[in-house]
């Protein structure tokens, strides 16, 4: 049994609110934008900063703790695409988020909240690209 609100699982809303609170919390305390790709690449830079490493470490920590206590809530429900496609996709995501200055968190969550025109454009582009790729290209290449 799964509770829904507007046809969407309550857990999805709740998790989204948690993500939003984390982004606003990081901004209120440290004045930083919770853009995961930006923090990821900057953490390897000369002035990486301890806060970046700890923020990144917190993500699997929080996910892992929740998964430990609520193991049946979510899992991985698509077949493993194989090493080659994981590498191709990871490389594109790394190249693209660095070139485009952000990903789903930086542009999607924080950028839309900041009403940034760059982020608004970015979200439009990666949503359309994501939909077309998942709906057409993925099946066409046999994924």
């Amino acid at each position: 049994m799964q509770e829904t609100l507007f046809g969407i699982p309550v857990s999805a809303w709740l998790g989204g609110i948690m993500i939003g609170l984390a982004a606003v919390g990081l901004f209120a305390f440290l004045g930083r934008i919770a853009g995961i790709s930006g923090i990821f690449f900057a953490s390897f830079g000369r002035d990486g900063g301890l806060w970046r490493w700890l923020f990144l470490a917190g993500i699997p920590l929080g996910g892992g703790v929740l998964a430990y206590f609520m193991p049946t809530l979510n899992g991985v429900t698509r077949p493993n695409p194989g090493v080659v496609w994981l590498i191709v996709a990871g490389f594109l995501v790394g190249w693209g988020t660095r070139m485009g200055s952000g990903c789903t968190s930086g542009h999607g969550v924080c950028g839309l909240g900041r009403l940034s025109p760059r982020s608004l454009a970015a979200v439009g582009v990666f949503m359309v690209a994501g939909v077309l790729t998942a709906s057409l290209l993925r099946h066409w290449v046999g994924l």
């Binding site: 857990s11 989204g16 806060w51 991985v76 290209l137």
Partner: protein, 145 residues
């Protein structure tokens, strides 16, 4: 390590953990749910609308109200906010490539990091490739300047 550095780190860890917990609770850490949302020709899964909707509502309230309520963050001397507003070619091309990678396997950076603790071997492979992609992009950019 000074007290202030320690407090910075602790807050950062807690916010990262809250974000990671949110990714798991929402189902965004499941690339199958992500692809179920992006693949509009298959059995469509609207869950991601709730994730993005919930997150953006909180983000809108926070980012629109906080800078008016406080002159600086609680633990820092200033807000570090991107100032650019122009939509340029690298932004469009970059996010296009990102969207293609996202739509291929259903991972973006946050869920891939959370995936490190969710017990499948996919996440570390994806993250290493992502790091490589970012490093090569930086070199390519430097060479084409």
């Amino acid at each position: 390590m000074s007290f202030s550095t320690g407090l910075h780190g602790l807050v950062s860890l807690v916010m990262g953990a809250l974000l990671g917990a949110g990714l798991y609770v929402s189902g965004m850490s499941d690339p199958g749910k992500v692809l179920g949302f992006l693949d509009v020709l298959g059995p469509w899964n609207p869950a991601l609308m709730g994730v993005l909707g919930g997150a953006v509502i909180i983000s809108l309230i926070g980012f629109q109200s906080l800078p008016q309520q406080m002159s600086r963050p609680w633990l820092e001397s200033q807000f570090y906010v991107p100032t650019r507003r122009d939509v340029d070619r690298p932004l469009v091309v970059g996010t296009l490539l990102f969207g293609i990678g996202w739509g291929l396997v259903g991972y973006c950076p946050g869920p891939a990091l959370a995936g490190l603790a969710l017990g499948n071997g996919e996440a570390p492979i994806f993250l290493l490739a992502m790091l490589a992609g970012g490093v090569v992009q930086k070199r390519w950019e430097a060479r084409n300047k």
